[in-house]
């Protein structure tokens, strides 16, 4: 028994020590500044098609990938396990229809598992039919070897959403980034409250890069502005839990603003105020229809930063251009990342769309709209 206690104690020390040593860095001032600049900076490309726009001038040469159609474009997807990915994936399949050169579009779904996604990519490579490979990695570090292996096989590889730690892909398509999201929401909260105001930070879950950077960006801004952070709570994206957390905080005192790193639970948080009979304070959310509509109906001070789903279109476009041998922005294709503010709110509200539809889909002009996204005309 004594040995056991010793072993456990040893293990705990090991854990603690190591944790100290290598907390991952989500607080990078240089990256923060870069994204802050990009938010307001100029983008190349047509302004009415943000999914074609890109920051900077760097282009990737794709001449060696030029190939005659019809192509088989393969897509290894981390999963379609949340509405954001569902909307994005619909964007993607609709975009495929715009390109007759794509003979086959093969989609394999890793169901949210790194292990499975690595195996899926292996399968796709072993099948040997892909002309190009698009990867939406489940996590950055874990998928890097698989992506490297795909590059090594000579395939053009396009990565989007979460990145990989290698620059072998043709390009990495992504919007401005997590700091940007945090900045937009943080600035809104600071502008609408005064120093000493109580801010509740609601998080989905710890550890995901894009969510961590959103939080760290906003946290620094709040501290600087002298706001009082009541707490940082993880909701697991669970509405019921979100509601409980807000109810509990409300019982203990006033809340002047609710900041969140992703909008899935925004409506639940708003409802907690409604149900308690307390005026809804400043709330940040995301571009989901239910939140936008609630915001309009109740008229609280809201904002919806976005992580646009139109990047899923861009991935297909990048693959197509690559196979045509046309240059594509690379090694990074940074897309604009607009926030929906009170001024433009009405443009994005569409009651015919499903409640969990993401308004910043860049899909309104596509032939399948709105039915393919579950909406009605």
């Amino acid at each position: 028994m004594k040995k056991l206690v010793m072993a456990v104690a040893g293990m705990a020390v090991l854990f603690a020590g190591a944790a100290q040593a290598q907390a991952p860095n989500f607080d990078d001032p240089a990256e923060f500044a870069k994204q802050k600049a990009q938010l307001t900076g100029a983008f190349n490309g047509p302004a009415d098609s943000p999914w074609l726009q890109y920051a900077g001038d760097a282009m990737a040469d794709t001449a060696k990938f030029k190939k005659d159609g019809p192509w088989t474009i393969c897509f290894s997807n981390a999963g379609v396990n949340n509405p954001w990915r569902v909307v994005g994936y619909t964007d993607m399949t609709e975009e495929v229809k715009n390109h007759p050169e794509i003979g086959t579009f093969t989609h394999v779904d890793a169901e949210g598992s790194d292990d499975k996604q690595i195996a899926d990519i292996d399968d796709l490579l072993a099948g040997g039919t892909c002309s190009a490979l698009i990867v939406s990695p489940n996590s950055t570090a874990a998928l890097t070897p698989a992506v490297e292996k795909a590059c090594a096989s000579g395939l053009p590889v396009i990565v989007f959403d979460r990145g990989v730690t290698t620059d072998c892909p043709v390009t990495f398509v992504h919007p401005v980034g997590g700091y940007g999201f945090g900045i937009q929401a943080g600035e809104h909260v600071i502008a609408n409250t005064s120093a000493g105001a109580n801010v509740l930070m609601l998080r989905i879950l710890p550890g995901v890069d894009v969510l961590e950077t959103r939080a760290s960006g906003a946290r620094n801004m709040f501290k600087e502005a002298g706001l009082n952070i009541l707490g940082e709570e993880f909701t697991d994206g669970d509405n019921a839990k979100t509601k409980s957390i807000v109810e509990d905080y409300l019982q203990r005192g006033t809340i002047d603003a609710v900041w969140m790193d992703a909008g899935a639970t925004a409506v639940a948080a708003v409802e907690a105020f409604e149900d308690a009979g307390v005026p809804v304070p400043v709330v940040t959310g995301e571009d989901q229809q239910d939140y936008l509509q609630k915001w309009k109906a109740l008229g609280f001070k809201g904002i919806a930063p976005t992580y646009p789903t139109y990047q899923w279109r861009t991935a297909i476009i990048a693959a197509v251009n690559t196979l045509k041998g046309e240059a594509v922005p690379g090694p990074e294709w940074v897309l604009p990342q607009p926030a929906i503010t009170q001024d433009v709110l009405d443009q994005y509200i569409n009651e015919k769309m499903p409640p969990l539809h993401y308004a910043m889909c860049g899909c309104e002009g596509m032939p399948g709209y709105p039915e393919a996204w579950g909406g009605t005309k």
Binding site: V86, N239, S244, E271, D275, P355
Partner: protein
């Protein structure tokens, strides 16, 4: 062992010892919450707590039927998800749709329970695996139906049961509809388990299936009914949770294990033969109280998990110890 036992007639002290510890645990937790947060004594405080526990409590009461019958039902969480997503798909923002959607969902629940029961009874698949398969299948069905994201709102008439508070009630001022549901379904489940032939027969098949069959108990029908009750209470829990929280894609995930945990905290015997609906519901309330308390203490999520794990093991170990001490 068939040694002759002549236990002494219950003295007051002995009877005190026989009180289900879950009630003691629940009271202790509530006292701790009140000490930490006197606002809990306000109607708003305890009503909110009961309101949020309602879905799990009803679910646990239903899950108990399968546990006492000697099985497991892992499909209840997925059934809740299906209820919420299916309802939002069907409602298409029509407030009047609630009146046919809820009965329809109860019907689907009954069907799912029936299939679980048939698979376990006639295909002889262990319930753990049968309902695990059902859990995966139902989640898939919910996704296929909605295409991955629900395409409608739950109308307010639907959300009434989980969200609405009756205001202006004397003494307490607000009274959530969810608590009325909790009481009504709690009574129904209690009555079914402890005041009917069905309940006694569920105990019988969980205790000794073969003996029950030879004594004439329609084992298959009883077991199937238990699964149906479990699935239908999952629908009710889904309606209340969906009402409280609104639409989301994985609203019910994890509830299956919480329901089993609650029933076990309430002293139900896994593998059947023993269990009480009020105690299982008290187990659910205790579980929710633990979460609330840990929240009040400001403990981070990981610590909550650890505490939950320790309490779970501790409660069962204690129950086993008591059972051994008070004679087998």
């Amino acid at each position: 062992m068939t040694e002759q036992t002549l236990s002494t007639p219950g003295s007051a002290r002995r009877r005190l010892l026989q009180i289900n510890p879950v009630y003691v645990l629940l009271v202790a937790l509530l006292v701790a919450i009140v000490l930490l947060n006197p606002a809990f004594m306000e109607p708003q405080g305890y009503m909110n707590y009961l309101k949020r526990a309602a879905a799990l409590a009803i679910l646990s009461g239903g899950a108990l039927y399968v546990i006492v019958a000697g099985g497991f039902d892992l499909s209840v969480g997925a059934m809740m998800t299906l209820t919420v997503i299916g309802s939002s798909m069907l409602a298409s923002n029509d407030p009047n749709s609630t009146y046919w959607i809820i009965p329809l969902m109860l019907g689907i629940g009954a069907l799912v329970g029936l299939i679980n029961g048939l698979v376990v009874s006639y295909l002889r698949v262990p319930s753990l695996i049968a309902t695990l398969g059902m859990m995966i299948t139902l989640t898939g069905v919910a996704f296929v139906w909605s295409g991955g994201a629900p395409r409608g709102y739950l109308p307010d008439t639907f959300r009434f049961f989980g969200r609405f508070n009756i205001t202006g009630v004397p003494l307490v001022n607000i009274f959530p509809v969810a608590i009325i549901c909790l009481v009504v379904f709690g009574l129904i489940l209690w009555w079914g388990m402890h005041r009917t032939n069905l309940g006694r027969m569920i105990h019988a098949i969980g205790d000794n299936q073969r003996a029950a069959r030879l004594a004439g108990v329609p084992v298959e029908r009883v077991r199937i009914t238990a699964f149906i009750v479990s699935s239908m209470s999952a629908v009710v829990a889904g309606v209340i949770l969906g009402g409280r929280a609104g639409v989301s894609v994985d609203i019910g995930s994890g509830y299956e294990l919480q329901a089993i945990t609650a029933a076990v905290l309430g002293g139900a015997q896994l593998l059947g033969g023993r269990g009480s609906v009020p105690a299982a519901m008290a187990g659910a309330l205790a579980l929710e109280a633990i979460f609330t308390l840990l929240n009040l203490l400001g403990l981070p999520q990981p610590v909550r998990q650890v505490v939950q794990g320790l309490i779970l093991i501790g409660a069962v170990a204690l129950a086993m110890y008591r059972r051994k001490r008070t004679g087998r």
